[in-house]
Amino acid sequence: MYQYAASLTKLIEQFARLPGIGPKTAQRLAFYVLNMPRLQVEEFAKVLVEVKETVKTCPACCNLTDVVPCRLCGDESRDRSLICVVEDAQDVIAIERTREFKGLYHVLQGTISPMEGKGPDDLRIRELLQRLRNEEIAELIIATNPDVEGETTAFYLAKLFKPMGIKITRIAHGLPVGGELEYADTATLTRAMSGRREMNI
């Protein structure tokens, strides 16, 4: 059977590993790269490595950052008594866009999802516990997605932290149920943040 040049096949395989990219798209992308000017390809390869080398996890909030502590944790003007718990770095960007929230964040880096082999120990919950113990926190706002996994994670956190006597709130579901936070428009998110409610467990 006829096959592409070995290096081209390798590139196709690399693209096909990325989420949401099927074999056909992978082929298209590989051919696109092949036709790109050499300089642009070098630039592309360089930023791929660079991103891996420079982006780290903030030791405090577990958000992605290139400085330590991250820009949000380092910002003296933010309200340090409020922590908003989100699933991932994209959610931080989404909430920042609303300009509604002036506190700090904690990025769990996922949700509890047995189907993906993810349990509480795979999330950045230990780091959050540390912060709650060591810092003066007045309110913990849980802003995980309203889908099944996000909701379960919220309940898990609420159960875990309730005995510490911290006020725990959940952002309101102005969001489409089952929807993803990232896609929610800014207005909806603003409403959801201001309509947050205390969690009863």
Binding site: G22, K24, I112, S113, P114, M115, G117, G119, P120, D147, V148, E149, E151, T152, F155, Y156, K159, L160, P176, V177, G178
Partner: protein, 372 residues
């Protein structure tokens, strides 16, 4: 509510079809394997965005093509509506639904725009078949008029899958972790909501069914439907569902951890259909089964009417010839009285006693081509 016009493209054995229908009775005659059921299936698909037959979406695409489209013009109290569905083979993009030209992201947003009640030969499985048949009867009915129920079902299935994965991972350990406790709680919350809604709907459906069954049998047969929790325990609307579920959890948790799967919950519940005090499944004759299913279907019509203010479209695939003359006349009378739009398929053009007030339109189908 009625379907004014249907358009099909590369669906099953249809290449292209565009057809206007009567707002009342549509009789579709054709030999075996010409496309009668496919037409019924297409109308059903416009309502539920899935088929009721055991087939994947990709199998509905006409052989040797790679997409199908169904669209329909619906007239209802709420106004005129154009519903469009396109399904493309995976690599090119999946299902796309539009209402009046606007793209819809979630099926829950559009259920109920076109409601249907389908009666097909395999509906005898409502009596004879596995519990899943009876649950899906109820689930489909409720979903059509109650989108939040449909959302709850989707969430439930997701939680169930997650919980099963967790149980599998913990299996053998007998250890109830904090994570399991949280999944249990989520599972119970949703189970409770689903069961409560089912009981609430049954409470409306049962008297309707009973009344119709008595009418169909000249008062001889009393039909009753009961809800069985975990296929065993009969429950009623005012029972404390939560505490019953907690009991089930307590009873089975150990076994669940051992076997690595969920052993209770609304996905295991059943309906018991009782005729004159006996379990119809085991005691009824073939004809009694059929009459009971007819009674349930006619009750569904009334249920939709009560919930949404409009009668649904009635799809009768191949069932007229299966009913005896008396039941057939009752069915025809019901359709006429309520001026419901119906689609009736049959292999032989039987002369049914339609009154003159009813507009009936006849079609003949051959190899996926429909002729007036």
């Amino acid at each position: 509510m009625y379907l004014q016009r249907l358009f099909l493209n590369q669906f099953r054995n249809y290449s292209v079809l565009q057809q206007d229908f009567s707002s009342q009775v549509n009789i579709i005659t054709g030999q075996n394997a010409q496309g009668k059921t496919n037409l019924i299936e297409a109308i059903y698909y416009l309502s539920m965005f899935k088929t009721y037959r055991p087939a994947q979406d990709s199998q509905l695409i006409k052989a040797n093509t790679n997409a199908f489209a169904i669209s329909g013009a619906v007239r209802s109290k709420a106004g005129d509506l154009k519903i469009e569905v396109v399904y493309r083979n995976k690599e090119t993009g999946g299902k796309e639904i539009k209402i009046n030209g606007l793209k819809i992201r979630k099926i829950s947003e559009i259920l109920g725009n076109l409601t249907v009640v389908l009666f097909a030969p395999e509906d005898l499985n409502i009596v004879k078949g596995a519990p899943a048949e009876r649950r899906s009867l109820l689930d489909n009915d409720i979903s059509q008029v109650n989108p939040s129920y449909f959302i709850n079902l989707q969430r439930y299935n997701r939680i169930l899958a997650q919980r099963n994965h967790l149980l599998k991972r913990l299996s053998g350990s007998e250890k109830i972790t904090g994570e399991l406790l949280v999944w249990n709680e989520q599972f119970i919350l949703l189970s409770e909501e689903i069961i409560a809604k089912r009981l609430q709907v049954l409470e409306k459906l049962i008297p309707l069914t009973r009344l119709i069954q008595r009418k169909l049998t000249e008062g001889k047969e009393n039909l009753d439907i009961r809800y069985l929790l975990n296929r065993q325990k009969e429950i009623k609307k005012n029972d404390n569902i939560r505490s019953l579920l907690l009991e089930d959890l307590k009873k089975t948790q150990k076994e669940e951890l051992k076997r690595g799967m969920t052993l209770w919950g609304p996905h295991r519940d059943d309906l018991l259909i009782v005729l004159n005090g006996n379990d119809l499944k085991y005691f009824g004759s073939q004809g009694q089964h059929r009459t009971a299913v007819l009674a349930i279907k006619l009750a569904e019509l009334e249920y939709f009417k009560a919930e949404s203010g409009e009668y649904p479209i009635l799809l009768l695939d191949d069932v007229m010839s299966e009913l005896d003359q008396k039941r057939r006349e009752q069915l025809i009378q019901t359709i006429q009285e309520k001026a419901i739009q119906c689609f009736i398929t049959t292999t032989e053009d039987l002369a049914y006693p339609w009154s003159e007030k009813t507009t009936t339109q006849k079609f003949y189908i051959e190899q996926g081509v429909l002729n007036d």
